[in-house]
Symmetry: C2
Subunit: 329 residues, 2 copies
Amino acid sequence: MGASTSPVENLAALVGDDLNAVDAVLHSHMTSEVALIPQLGAHLVDSGGKRLRPLITLAAAHLFGYAGTAHLRLAGAVEFIHTATLLHDDVVDESALRRGRAAANVLWGNKPSVLVGDFLFSRAFQLMVEAGSLSVLGILSDASAIIAEGEVMQLRTAKNLNTTEADYLRVISAKTAALFAAAAKSGAMIAGASTEDCQALSDYGLNLGIAFQLVDDALDYSGRQAVMGKAVGDDFRESKMTLPVILAAARASDDERRFWRKTMEVGVQDEGDLLRAIELLERGGALAETIDRARIYASAARAALARVPEGDIKSALSEIADFVVERAY
Amino acid sequence: MGASTSPVENLAALVGDDLNAVDAVLHSHMTSEVALIPQLGAHLVDSGGKRLRPLITLAAAHLFGYAGTAHLRLAGAVEFIHTATLLHDDVVDESALRRGRAAANVLWGNKPSVLVGDFLFSRAFQLMVEAGSLSVLGILSDASAIIAEGEVMQLRTAKNLNTTEADYLRVISAKTAALFAAAAKSGAMIAGASTEDCQALSDYGLNLGIAFQLVDDALDYSGRQAVMGKAVGDDFRESKMTLPVILAAARASDDERRFWRKTMEVGVQDEGDLLRAIELLERGGALAETIDRARIYASAARAALARVPEGDIKSALSEIADFVVERAY
């Protein structure tokens, strides 16, 4: 846990062997006599994702002194919900890359991606049943419905230059932050934390998730993204109205506004347009401002932890809130 | 309940106002501030489906004297799982018609169909949480995973002329019959029926579901289908290896085998090919034989009810087993 390790590694070290145990849970629940299912599942599950969401579930359980094993299944359920969402997202977005590898829909086609997503989603619920808490199941099924709502909302804001910052915040709160909130809260709940402490963890996750998505949306217009194995400009190509574009469009000159209208609303993108978009977002300060917003939500995530037990885990969760912003640099 | 009513209507009458109550559950759980969700959801939920699966859940609960209201939520969950599956199926199959209307993917596109399917699937689990039984939740989440497995299996058998009857039975047991089995069993479980009675209902549902799908697959090559508001020849166009084709291919002349290879394996279908397929399936007896198989499973469904309490509900469930076969005529 020296200064050279990342906050995610620090937190992982604090939950002992739990992350390996979660990996075992994921693999044992991905098996199927239909060979394509574990193949396609493993492509995503073993693609080097940080397991940030399940890690938060594990940490939240430890934070309140949990000594059982049900948190491993909940963490597995959280990761499966996330994986299923990624599979369906990539179909919906027609993505080519995911975590630096060809996306599953490119390798196997849309049909298996939709159906294996459904399979993993079902497996998530089987894991929750095994975990044995109906109230935690309620938290995670609520989150799943909210995620789907957020994804549909996002479809409706795409190509709409009148999308407001409030619209955008509603979308990312639902499509991204709801799962972070449920991941954190479910760990606290399984550990028997008080209603107030469960709410604190939920608030932590929600704010962390918003910060996370804000930074993701800034990175989509940044060279850092290429380093992380993601395509740059995916959101631009899909005409997604993310905060950088919303901020830039709001203060655009007439000429710039024509550019945004052409590339986002009409959806006509010529060679050099992505570079011009990046240049406009950087020069006008929209990227920096998006990161500033993320910093505010990261602070709120840290503040939400005020009431929870002091110690290494609380410190590490705090550091993660900073980390999701700092990874932008 | 005169002789002119269908067995489905007979059974519906025996569960009193429950089907209306389930409709209210479905509509109250389809609401969302994202307008597209209830719009697209209602397109399917209100499209005049027979509600056969939820009706079986309700009937199974009544059969064992259930006096509570949780069965309404379970029946709603079963219908939502079915609806979500239909939405994703139509994307995967690129269907144009569903229950005599344009399929949702045609009207709104694939993206909303995938995402609203996810939403309804999540709502199904919320309903199960509200119903309050973790063991019933286990039954329905197991069924959901099996359905997805069956759908992936079906992708792998498509265009494969070597698909056996055993392969086909595995596919339809999973993609169709598992939900009928879970629908029946969950009603019995919520009513506190014995393990043996729950198993009897599960067996009833499984066999009923297999009979149902066999008839569906025969109807896809029959004029009756057009009357029911479905496109004829969907399976043919998608090169799905259903039992009629499996049986016909197994006894095909060299010339006929070339025809099946061209239309199913190579997937080249010229004008008149569907008519020739129908003619081959009818003349060779494959359609009649498929219905004969369905009749065997319908008998097994009736036989599974041997141990459950005698009465109107048992009789109506028995009649439904015959009805799913007779609708072929």
